[in-house]
């Protein structure tokens, strides 16, 4: 299966299918199981200095009949401490010394909150840091309450903090909840980012319970604006990847509604170098890696494409007129 190996931002993935930051990467033993099943790499659930407890329930599936087309979650970052994560990563490294582990991190509006997490995790053999920029509580000094990933100036400041603290690749996970994603890309590049993950979930309401009028999922009768992912996110995230590929040659991890190898081909074609998956794994389990890798391998073989990177497209310029 060498045809489907991928090298992105200096990291060697045996295949381009990587677990996105989320519940399937919430613990070391889950990542271990995923690696055994054949996943190309994993991004940990977001690690920060202030772990948060998750609400119950915290997910809701949007359906048409029996078909699930969207997934809404309302949890924040990992409930484990940085110290616990260091131990978890050590345990994965014992069995899989080479498989890329990317630490998803989130800090606050000061350099220490990001840099301490980086400095403590780095010695444990993580291969890169992915900045979660969808923090709802990131209060830029001049503009309280704005999200980190929605303001180029604030984002570039935070990327610089992380850049100062590490030589490892810095990946910025972008939010699609912006008027224009390209200024955020440019600001990140200028601040030293090496790669992007596009995208995080759309902000949305998963539905309203028409008996109780609670947003769904309902936590004892109330709810919040959550993160909308799964198949319904794909058209938006695919567009974002295409837009980002127009303005940078930095590698992009495509993320949003990938469940089949065909989805992966689409993301690669518009400019992604590798893929991240979460919802499909939650709905079906780690075993989907088999059909993903086999499907992609056969496709490349059938089309006579020697390697995944040959498929990574850059959009052709729009025809005049």
């Amino acid at each position: 299966m060498t045809r489907i190996a991928a090298t992105v931002a200096g990291m060697h993935f045996p295949n381009p299918f990587i677990l996105a930051s989320g519940p399937p990467t919430a613990k070391g033993n889950l990542i271990l199981e995923a690696f055994k099943a054949g996943w190309g790499g994993a991004v940990t659930k977001t690690i920060g200095l202030r772990p948060t407890l998750p609400p119950s329930p915290r997910v809701h599936a949007m359906k048409a009949g029996k078909i699930k087309w969207g997934f809404l979650d309302i949890e924040l970052i990992s409930d484990m401490t940085v110290g616990q994560w260091c131990d978890e990563i050590d345990r994965i490294r014992d069995s899989f010394p080479e498989r890329p582990i990317i630490a998803s991190i989130m800090g606050e509006d000061n350099p220490e909150s990001w840099q301490e997490v980086v400095r403590r995790l780095e010695p444990h053999g993580v291969n890169a840091f992915e900045m979660n920029t969808s923090c709802p509580n990131f209060a830029a000094r001049e503009e309280r309450g704005s999200k980190l990933g929605q303001d180029p100036h604030t984002l570039s400041m935070a990327v610089r903090w992380v850049r100062e603290a590490t030589e490892l690749p810095v990946i910025v996970k972008l939010t699609p909840n912006v008027t224009d994603i390209t200024p955020l890309v440019k600001a990140s590049i200028e601040a030293g980012a090496d790669a992007f993950c596009a995208t995080n979930s759309l902000s949305g309401i998963g539905g309203i319970d028409i008996e109780t009028f609670s947003p769904l999922p309902s936590v004892d009768g109330i709810g919040i604006i959550g993160g909308y992912g799964g198949p319904g996110l794909k058209p938006v995230a695919l567009r974002c990847v295409a837009d980002i590929a127009q303005v940078t040659s930095a590698p992009i991890f495509g993320c949003g509604g990938i469940a089949r190898w065909q989805d992966a081909v689409e993301y690669l074609a518009v400019g992604a170098s590798a893929l991240q998956l979460c919802t499909a794994v939650m709905w079906e389990g780690f075993h989907i890696i088999q059909r993903l890798t086999e499907g992609l391998e056969r496709y490349l073989e059938r089309q006579g494409i020697p390697s995944v990177d040959q498929l990574v497209g850059r959009p052709v310029p729009e025809p005049p007129g």
Binding site: P57, T179, D180, I205, I210, V236, A269
Partner: protein
């Protein structure tokens, strides 16, 4: 006495269901037919002052198997000549003098184009105007997004131009492709907009057929990029409807993925006074109005409401911030043994995306209460709805 009577702006309408500008209102005859079968209002397909902007992307239905849940395509605009509309609108008006009849208009970068459309269509009998802010910004400037509705200044300018030309209501179909919708809505209101449709379509990419890529991975960007509507838009449209309803005293028409009456109830609950249906009617026919009316009326009666306005905004106080959630409130999954078919979907989901709390026992799912964290994933994936989330009583043992 329960009925569907709906007051919207200055109009008394028989129901809160409108047809969106699009294929179902593509001609004056189609719009007339829609009112004949009972729609409370119609928004005529967008009438442009000049050549329709950026067209050509063929409509791509987004589906899983045979189930449709989205469409990516061009923003619909009318290719019928203005004179045809001017001849037809008086006939609609004569037959239905009291229904909502909005003309969706779109001009160019000059006031005259917008004002000409507003004056002529207003004189013909339109009861108001829609400005579709999801169409390309005719006043585009360097560094500002492509939708009219992404540029608050341009949108305000266009609304002000139309306002100068007419005293009739102006309704703006807002673009959801924004970091924050409130400044945009506020600036449109200041310029004279009287109501909003929340929302229009998301910027998106349609699919690519893998077999069409080889041998070289190139594709035509103009064929890929489009607008995303249908059920997949609903979570975003609900979010923005709620945001506007909480902040601004303005009538709202919910729009985005309304296929059934339940969808309409959700939009009313987050603050809409009426809803506008696009893909749902395009897929199921305009006869959908019967199901919408019957379903909504039944719901209102069963719950003791007299009109749709009584459910307006009821969900808003329940949409809170994360800090207000009670994180000590824990649920536990409970399996209904009558419904469980032993498919093991929940076992895999909980195993790899949850807490490894589900095993198989005598061919049925079994929840280990000591491991279940109450996330709700198993209930989402269960194909037979055999798993319910229940309050965890302190000291509760695993269900037998």
């Amino acid at each position: 006495m329960t009925n569907l009577d709906t007051r919207f702006m200055h109009l008394d309408l028989p129901n809160p269901f409108f047809l969106s500008a699009g294929p179902c209102t593509a001609s004056w005859e189609a719009a007339m037919e829609a009112l004949q079968v009972g729609w409370g209002g119609v928004v005529l397909n967008t009438i442009c002052s000049s050549t329709p902007p950026v067209q050509g992307l063929h409509e791509q239905v987004i589906r899983s198997g045979r189930t449709k849940w989205g469409v990516v395509g061009a923003e619909p605009v009318s290719d019928h000549p203005l004179d045809e509309w001017l001849a037809g609108i008086p006939k609609i008006r004569a037959a239905f003098p009291t229904r909502l009849l909005l003309a969706s208009i779109f001009g160019d970068g000059k006031a005259e184009s917008w004002q000409m459309l507003a004056e002529r269509l207003g004189s013909a009998g339109a009861c108001g105007f829609e400005i579709n802010a999801c169409l390309p910004n005719p006043l585009s400037r360097e560094g500002v997004g492509g939708d009219l509705g992404q540029d608050p200044d341009a949108l305000a300018q266009v609304v002000a131009w139309v306002r100068e030309a007419t005293a009739l209501p102006i309704v703006v179909r807002l673009s959801p492709n924004v970091t924050d919708i409130l400044p945009i809505a506020k600036s449109a209101m200041d310029a004279g907009a009287e109501a909003f449709i929340a929302t229009g379509s998301l910027l998106a990419a349609g699919g690519i057929d893998p077999d069409e890529l080889a041998p070289s991975p190139t594709f035509d960007r103009s064929r890929l990029l489009g607008r995303y509507r249908g059920p997949g838009l609903k979570p975003v449209a609900l979010r923005w409807t709620a945001a506007i309803a909480k902040a601004l005293p303005v009538p709202l028409i919910g729009s985005g993925g309304i296929v059934g009456w339940e969808d309409a109830v959700e939009f009313f609950a987050v603050g809409a006074s009426a809803v506008s249906v696009g893909s749902g009617a395009a897929w199921n026919g305009i006869g959908l109005i019967d199901d919408l009316e019957t379903g909504l009326l039944g719901y209102l009666r069963e719950h003791g409401y007299r009109s749709p306005s009584e459910i307006r905004g009821r969900a808003l106080p329940r949409i809170v911030g994360f800090d207000e959630l009670d994180l000590d409130h824990k649920l536990i999954a409970v399996v209904d043994k009558e419904l469980c078919n032993g498919c093991e979907v929940c076992v895999r989901a909980c195993g790899d995306g949850g807490f490894q709390a589900i095993t198989m026992s005598e061919g049925l799912a079994f929840i280990d209460a000591s491991k279940c964290d109450g996330c709700g994933l198993c209930a989402c994936v269960c194909p037979t709805n055999a798993i319910r989330m229940r309050d965890r009583q302190s000291g509760q043992q695993a269900p037998s």
